[in-house]
Amino acid sequence: MNKTFVWGHRGAGFRDVENSMSSFKKAVDMGVDGIKTEAQLSKDGEIFLCFQQSLRKNGEYVPIKDLDSSEIRTLRLDNNESVLTLSEFFSEFKDDNIRYNFDIRDPEIGIRIIEIARKFKVIDKIELAKPVTDGSLLPEIFGKIREFDKNVTLINTIFLKYANNMKEHLELNSMRELNIQGINVKYNFATFELFKLVKENGFKFYVWGLLFNRPMQKFLKMNYKGQPVDAMMSNFPDRLLRLRNEIQNN
């Protein structure tokens, strides 16, 4: 049986300052298979890894898209590290055997990530995902990206508003047309029936938001026709990796 892929959310998001270089390094040292983070585009076209769409500058929140990269570089995270650029991130980890998954709010961000990933020769290691708080339809966020790159891995994420009637919002036809490879579901709503439906339609099934041992164990034991849940995301990747080794090695 294959093993479930473990994504470190924002690095080791609850073990360090999330989306900082030290958090990403910590996750890689823990042994994650990939890093899941968020990408924002500055005014001058630089990608920064940051969940917030606005940053605090001189006491006021300013959208990242209205800031130049030189301004963003002067800002500091809680651990006094700078906000990372995608280039800095790839420079650090390009030789590690890990994948990268980026939440993108805008097709332009996705296209810029692809350009940078090509430059670093890691295009086959990246995935672009719709954020969980994004209610737009798949062609709106992924249409232009798929035109730009026929092969990059794209991941659908079910908008949290539709969490309790997900089956109606899977957009399976759009997923086929746009060659979107997987669906990412918050663990509370990731039922076996949904897992089965997604796998029967030929897509990968990702589960996000895992913090507690109980749901981690539940999803690590879940399988359909001998195949486990494809990937799980956690701010505590060390816990998830330990449990995966205990459960899926047997």
Binding site: K186, L211, F212, N213, R214, F236, R239
Partner: protein
């Protein structure tokens, strides 16, 4: 008028009893305490309306503490009607759907709000199992 007041008091007592139950669980149940050990401390102020009522929860670093009234130390603020909050706690309504309908308002770090809501769900699940054991 008195009937409404009594009904409101019953509703508030019912909500507080759920949270005092979670507080007891944090002292008596190893699984819940271990999960609380992993989380950093957050203080959640919940303000309910119709009937108006406020209470706070401190969770993380191994603790789950509850108190009536308002605190100035809150890191998260939740506002909701008592009816909808009761339905969420009972599992009859989903917190995320209510949030996007603006029936559940959250101020503060949304990521930790999600953690809090997931923690309440976990506590309910463990509590139900504990109750089954006690009743067998």
């Amino acid at each position: 008028m008195n009937e409404i007041k009594i009904k409101d008091d019953v509703e508030m007592s019912r909500i507080m009893e759920i949270f005092y139950g979670f507080e007891r669980l944090s002292e008596e149940n190893l699984e819940f305490r271990q999960e609380l050990d992993e989380l950093k401390t957050n203080i959640v102020q919940t303000k309910l309306d119709n009937p108006d009522f406020a209470y706070w929860v401190e969770f993380g670093n191994g603790k789950f503490k509850v108190g009536k009234g308002e605190t100035s130390d809150a890191t998260l603020n939740i506002k909701c009607s008592s009816e909808i909050w009761s339905d969420i706690l009972a599992g009859r309504k989903d917190s995320y759907s209510e949030f996007f309908k603006s029936n559940l308002k959250i101020e503060g770090d949304l990521q930790y709000a999600v953690v809090y809501l997931d923690l309440l769900e976990l506590a309910s699940e463990i509590n139900q199992e504990v109750e089954v054991v006690y009743n067998e």
